[in-house]
Symmetry: C2
Subunit: 391 residues, 2 copies
């Protein structure tokens, strides 16, 4: 499964696997894709350095990538305390009451309070990059559009390709103008932050908007058939995130959450602002329903919402508060029904991709036949002569 | 572009084109697809008989289909007047005020009042079928799930295949149990009534749910690349509706509406209850915004909403009331940028389909190489041994 982009990166399959888990990212790279480690959960650069060292030791020299969350526009001089102060007390009360209604205990004294906001702030992302550029990165992806110009330059100086996520052709064109190398077109059905345009429509639109820049299709892709579909739409590869959440290498920290993912149908996700303040697809839970309820206080804008709910999400996860327990995940969750290793998942992807292509060849081939067999209707007349209207 | 289903129907390309315009339906059948005429606008069986006669004279013996709107559950003894009486006066006032605010004139004395509700009622659909079964139909499609059992039997007795639209795998399985022959899996990005699941996810789900029953993919399909994608997902054909709205053979009755469609981007549609009371994708207009505004009265359930707005929509269309002017259409409207004949559209579809398949073959082929070149990573260890978690 090779495209110009996969050859440029020296990977066997044009499958880009986004994951917050180093063990998953390394396994994806070993299997011939490009594992892309999500950095947002690393608030301490020391932790990231340790995990990247581990990646280097477990990818057998295969390329891998890093995904940061870095706003193109800088927010100067705002501290976490400043943001905290902007959260209305009514919203804090709603958090407390919702957790109390479901009997979710408080955290213990020594517990971590969750990833909080810091992973979203530019200084943290820059510290992550200082660490990361010391490792043999192949791709730097940014979830919030193009990173700042100096970061793009720095990546290029290290021979690292820069990718940026886009939910519309207009955003993608703007990203391309910022000098990035790869656009990830993230469709409506994707887990995490998404726009309204479905992958089937978005992918070719973005390809037209930024070509010859390579485009990765994201959203709705969790099988070899879906990879074939995405590549038929003009993508040079696929960006897959949800599928790895139920692999054996993933450590969600909650068996109940894994069980919930394995049981969920494609209709059990919702695009909600409950997580960050911007629409992000995730499991539909009593928690998202509370925030999306018109009778409730509603969500706050990014980054307030993320800061407001960070500790609550840690509590929900720690105590596995069933009805509230969720995670960002795309509509393909409906097909994530067994727990398997990354390599087994990859084997299915490549086998089913080949089968889908073979099936398509059968469909295309049968339609061709000898020229004499091809039937063509007379060109229809246009306008008023063409026949009766609907009335 | 031949599948088992297209061969069974004796058509050259597995492209099913839904349209309310006989001239478009006939042109689609002449071009080698299956034109499917929407019957909902025919409140007078005489009009339908006239147009089906015309179809017979203009399809050159090629098969065509009919799409009716027939609820599986019968509503006994309810007249249009009964339904009218259920509409609150506040909603009628909101219609009047919205039209007045945009300066939309009243209809003239002799004007038709719009298709109203009658096309949605079973007795009308049954009268349509009495007419239709006298014509050489190949396919009977129903927009509201399976038609009643006796209608399915009657279709089969005439050698007519029965298709039903579904927006979820669960609905599709129920349709299959009702003895239909083809499921149309209608994705979120489609024009008209749609569910929440995008075509990329819905198509393979429905194929798994009802196989070996053939599935047509609907929603997001307006190019040869998108056809290739849909067929890669396991569909035996595609169901395309929006694409024909801007063909030369289509007579929307409003040049301003055609211009609006040609100019619209993929982000200019909305899934709104404004049209019928159930979520249907359509152009986003001042009309849909008024109904979707939380400060407004909100929409009524089906069939009240359709009856409430029928005359208003006729006025909006007759006077081409720009900001209010809309139509059901899918997200592919963003790629409908030129007015062309159906045959020219079809030529592009088939050419681009073949190109997409050729491109996929290049991608699949390059990945194969001689066995010695294939790189495989060691199988990763599972569980706690697999490496550090994210913390």
């Amino acid at each position: 499964m090779q495209t110009e982009l996969s050859r440029r990166l020296g990977i066997e399959h044009a499958v880009f696997g986004f994951t917050p888990f180093p063990a998953v990212a390394a396994a994806i790279s070993r299997a011939g894709g490009l594992g892309v480690l999500g950095a947002v959960r690393y608030t301490d650069p020391g932790d990231l350095a340790r995990d990247l060292d581990w990646m280097d030791a477990h990818t057998g020299g295969r390329p891998y990538g890093l995904d940061v969350v870095m706003p193109a526009k800088k927010v100067e001089g705002v501290t976490e305390a400043d943001v905290e102060a902007m959260i209305p007390e009514g919203h804090r009360r709603f958090v407390r009451e919702t957790l109390a209604r479901h009997g979710v205990p408080e955290l213990a004294a020594g517990d971590r309070r969750g990833w909080r906001i810091t992973g979203w702030m530019e200084e943290v992302a820059r510290a992550q990059l200082d660490t990361a550029f010391g490792h043999p990165l192949a791709l730097l992806a940014n979830a919030l559009g193009p990173p700042p110009a100096d970061v793009v330059q720095r990546a290029h100086a290290h021979g690292v390709l820069v990718a940026a996520l886009a939910g519309s052709a207009r955003h993608a064109a703007r990203h391309a103008d910022a000098g990035i190398d790869v656009v990830v077109a993230q469709g409506y059905e994707a887990g995490g932050h998404t726009g309204e345009i479905a992958t089937m429509v978005l992918t070719p639109e973005v390809v037209r908007a930024v070509g010859p820049l390579p485009v990765l299709a994201a959203g709705g892709i969790g099988s070899g058939e879906q990879i074939a579909a995405a590549l038929a739409l003009g993508a040079q590869g696929v960006w897959i995130g949800s599928l790895w959440l139920t692999t054996e290498e993933a450590d969600l920290g909650s068996p109940a959450l894994t069980a919930k993912l394995l049981a969920a149908g494609s209709g059990d996700t919702v695009r909600s602002r409950a997580l960050t303040g911007k629409p992000a697809r995730q499991l539909r839970t009593a928690w998202t329903e509370a925030w999306d309820d018109p009778a409730g206080p509603g969500t706050l804008p990014m980054p307030l919402q993320g800061l407001l709910v960070a500790e609550a999400l840690t509590r929900i996860q720690k105590y596995e508060a069933g009805p509230l327990l969720g995670t960002p995940v795309g509509q393909i969750v409906g097909s994530m029904n067994t727990r398997r290793g990354v390599q087994a998942v990859f084997d299915d992807l490549t086998r089913d991709f080949e089968r889908a292509v073979a099936r398509l060849n059968g469909i295309a081939g049968d339609g061709q036949g000898p020229p004499g067999d091809r039937v063509r209707g007379a060109a229809p007349k246009a306008g008023a002569d063409a026949g009766p209207g609907p009335d």
